[in-house]
């Protein structure tokens, strides 16, 4: 394992357990570019999952239900 790989693994978080506010606040306040990107990816993953569910199961969900 290279030093870069060790550094990457040390900085890698399990963001699947983080709440929305934790991800949002980290994106807004952190100086860790890699962590910010990971938080954005996690938020986008959840949003994609939601849209996928909505498209498959409702087809008529109103926009006002979303934030």
């Amino acid at each position: 394992m290279t030093l870069q790989q060790i550094g990457a693994s040390l900085k890698s978080y399990d963001l699947t357990k983080w709440k929305y506010a934790q991800l949002r606040d980290t994106i807004n306040t952190s100086c860790d570019i890699k962590l910010i990107e990971e938080c954005k990816d996690e938020l986008h993953r959840r949003l994609r999952a939601y849209h996928s569910w909505r498209d498959a199961n409702t087809g008529q969900a109103s926009e006002e239900n979303q934030r």
Binding site: Y20, R45, L47, Q66
Partner: protein, 79 residues
């Protein structure tokens, strides 16, 4: 009978609302219909482990990849 149905309706409404609150805290999204689906899914489950397994393997909810801790939170407000 009418009183029981009224109580059930009231319970369902309150529970769906609380699940919706949890969804908002986890995803930043409120969706009454999604909350309803989750409450319905928990109805006939006898344990949190069974509920976690059901949500994780659900064809419609599996994509969310909800972590077990969050599903346990959902369970605690539903049951």
């Amino acid at each position: 009978q009418a009183l029981i149905e009224e109580a059930m309706t009231s319970w369902t409404k309150q529970t769906v609302e609380r699940v919706d609150d949890l969804l908002e805290s986890f995803m930043g999204i409120r969706d009454n219909q999604l909350a309803h689906v989750i409450v319905d899914l928990a109805r006939d489950k006898s344990s949190v482990d069974e509920f976690i397994e059901t949500v994780a393997s659900s064809s419609s909810l599996g994509h969310f990849q909800f972590p077990p801790d969050f599903i346990t939170e959902l369970w605690s407000v539903i049951r």
